[in-house]
Subunit: 176 residues, 2 copies
DNA sequence: TCCTATTGCGACCCTGATGTCGCATACTTG
DNA sequence: CAAGTATGCGACATCAGGGTCGCAATAGGA
């Protein structure tokens, strides 16, 4: 796979790509440019997924669920961007998370219509979603969480936390 | 501070410790031994905090709250251990998270007494707690979340998720 | 078929970081 | 005060990894 470990040598990466180190240098003059390109590619993937989820339309909670599902589906990319601080601090990634973007807007909509907790700051809600999506993806990746439960479990955790439900009257989950 | 960046040169670390690189080598022959020692120290800190929270005693939810508060208080250490994959994979850390330890036991107790959701696997609950504690610590660290709200906000998120409360009848939080 | 672009491959240099030593200088402890 | 210990300090060896180059082989298109 790609740059699984940031420690990976260019030789390792080339080997993983079944090519030669020199060839790698022909495409990406320096190591940092390779990293940049990879990061940008991943960020683009996430942006695409976000747009595909049509966040701005429909009830906020449903939109949020679509978004989370979309993110979980590209968990590899999410993990790559957030598993390494040096990558996470990359401008492109920082912009993705820090910015007051469409996700923040969605959260505000959710708070406005009474779906989401207004006592939590949108920035924190957004961050906690990222954190849980990352955790779920990691869990799926290392086999702790079966892939087919991952989404409902993740949604349940994000929406209602880990305590026992007091009353269960809202539909949830996307699979039967 | 310590090994804030794993990329930090030994010279950097020595400088940060206001000492000389050679002196560092006298204490820790190799770089990896230094890392080991630091990781072990952090893990020990966490173990101590866990024990101090007296997890095994009292109502599970209250115990969980004590635990989360304790973890948040040593957020620096938690971040250090989890912000870098190479560190996270360190045997000592892996043992801390993967093991079926006292926290897992606490979660089982919580599920048994009806406090925690039994539809979520204990391993997942444990992981999501780590993820949210990490996220909160990070948020406090970078100024996104005011330090004084961090704990109640974190507990709220862990326990009830991000959706609007249907009924609020349980006391929460440790500060007025 | 021939021409061109791309790749494989090995050799090379260079930089930066690690690890080692020897010595001079405090600092503490008896 | 004296001995032993820890530290500051610079010099040095080593080495892994990044980046460059030239050349042969191959593929692919006109």
């Amino acid at each position: 796979m790609w740059v699984r470990d940031r420690d990976a040598t260019l030789a390792d990466i080339a080997a993983a790509a079944e090519t030669h180190r020199a060839t790698l240098h022909r495409h990406f003059p320096s190591r940092t440019e390779l990293l940049d390109a990879t990061v940008r590619s991943c960020v683009a993937e996430i942006v695409t997924a976000t747009e595909a989820a049509a966040i701005a339309k429909g009830p906020p909670l449903a939109a949020l669920r679509r978004l989370v599902a979309a993110y979980l589906a590209i968990g590899d990319h999410i993990r790559f961007l957030f598993e390494d601080l040096a990558v996470t601090r990359h401008p492109a990634v920082a912009e993705l998370t820090a910015a007051d973007g469409p996700v923040t807007e969605l959260i505000r909509r959710g708070q406005a219509d009474g779906t989401l907790d207004t006592s939590l700051a949108p920035a924190w809600i957004e961050r906690s979603i990222w954190a849980l999506v990352y955790a779920a993806s990691e869990a799926v990746n290392d086999g702790t969480l079966p892939a087919h439960d991952a989404l409902p479990v993740l949604l349940r955790t994000i929406e209602d936390g880990i305590t026992r439900p007091r009353h269960r009257n809202r539909p949830r989950g996307t699979n039967p």
